[in-house]
Symmetry: D2
Subunit: 137 residues, 4 copies
Amino acid sequence: MPSATDISDFLAAEFPQTKCRVDAVGGMSATVRHEVGPHELRPGGTVSGPVLMTVADVALYVAILGEIGIVPLAVTTNLNINFLRKPPADRAIVGVCKLIKVGRTLAVGEVALYSEGLPEPVAHVVGTYALPPDRPR
Amino acid sequence: MPSATDISDFLAAEFPQTKCRVDAVGGMSATVRHEVGPHELRPGGTVSGPVLMTVADVALYVAILGEIGIVPLAVTTNLNINFLRKPPADRAIVGVCKLIKVGRTLAVGEVALYSEGLPEPVAHVVGTYALPPDRPR
Amino acid sequence: MPSATDISDFLAAEFPQTKCRVDAVGGMSATVRHEVGPHELRPGGTVSGPVLMTVADVALYVAILGEIGIVPLAVTTNLNINFLRKPPADRAIVGVCKLIKVGRTLAVGEVALYSEGLPEPVAHVVGTYALPPDRPR
Amino acid sequence: MPSATDISDFLAAEFPQTKCRVDAVGGMSATVRHEVGPHELRPGGTVSGPVLMTVADVALYVAILGEIGIVPLAVTTNLNINFLRKPPADRAIVGVCKLIKVGRTLAVGEVALYSEGLPEPVAHVVGTYALPPDRPR
């Protein structure tokens, strides 16, 4: 199975816009970290919702790649996000994904999103990816 | 109630990063349009998921502002997106929001997202905003 | 494609507990009606949430069967419900489903749930069914 | 804060139809158990989806009551369920809820649903309850 470095290299090609760094992957889980840029803030000094969704989507993708290998054809089919607290502007967003199921054609996982260093999640996501059914296994 | 121009002006201040244009608002609905930039694409020439989520979030917000007036304190609490088809890279994304309920403290709406000029939606969103309960009415 | 009567007969076998009646099906849509029984009420005289979820799930299933034929292997994979208003105890629940996509392996639709005779929906559902990919077509 | 017995007694009055037993509550979590009856099965010997949704909804409600006290006015506003595996007909359904946030007006939690004695969840739920903002605290 691919390492965090393998997946980081793949992401840099697949999602060139993403600034997410892969901190850990394996064992049906992944942790990614996203440094927040000034154009990702909202008035009042909070991180915009789409940035949180992006980090969650990447965390899910990384966790799945950690299980099935680097398969570029995996695509998100459903993502459900609950926004819980306003993330402060000056902290990175950390996404901690735990996969709930990796089946033949669908993978489901949840992601807790944190402002780095704070204990309470700022958002919670559950997402589904469609997997290529004839992938190598 | 605010016009499309009023809301566009407000968005330009509130979401300075957004490139969404307000095409129509009123009657519990809104239509917004987002020109896709090169950094919003994914390999294979499709629009990234977070761009779709952003357009849906803005469409919901615009439709709500059209009902309750320009209230900067409205915040998304839940957003559920189903990705349906790959949006081609060379078309703007159009979000058509219909509000389902505008209550005292919550508003719920759905958004169909289209690649401009194509008949089938590329994604479908349902979202909830928390409204300030003591807003002027 | 099957008629409303064909699908009603199938449901009576497949979901023997359901009291849903198929009022209309076809054209990527379906309407079902559920007479509320005394054991489906909550204190305060409202219909319980799981009854609403059941009616939505049946409406989705009926609409899908109307498109792909009677395929007992279709199963719900995701269902997202927003509860909007308390349904009064003395009115049937009507579910109006519109399918958004019927693909090869997934179908997605939305359902507006009404208390019969009242104009505003009591709940809104978006759901996904997994379809058998090798079904006859 | 109320005990598991207090909440069981309240549920027996509030949800007289529910057969859920409260196994544990407290510390932002709850475990409930639902014995499956013959009328809750689907052809093929699996538990119907609405039964799973009901158990999840009760688990969330019990966990919330464990935090805020017995407040009958709490109502579900959103529930998102992913169905993961077919639950066998002959095992009770166990719902394990962990609350993610209990705020002033909204509480959000997740529920893993299991067939008793099996390690993998059969479904996963995230739900939101609206709380009465002027409850005693």
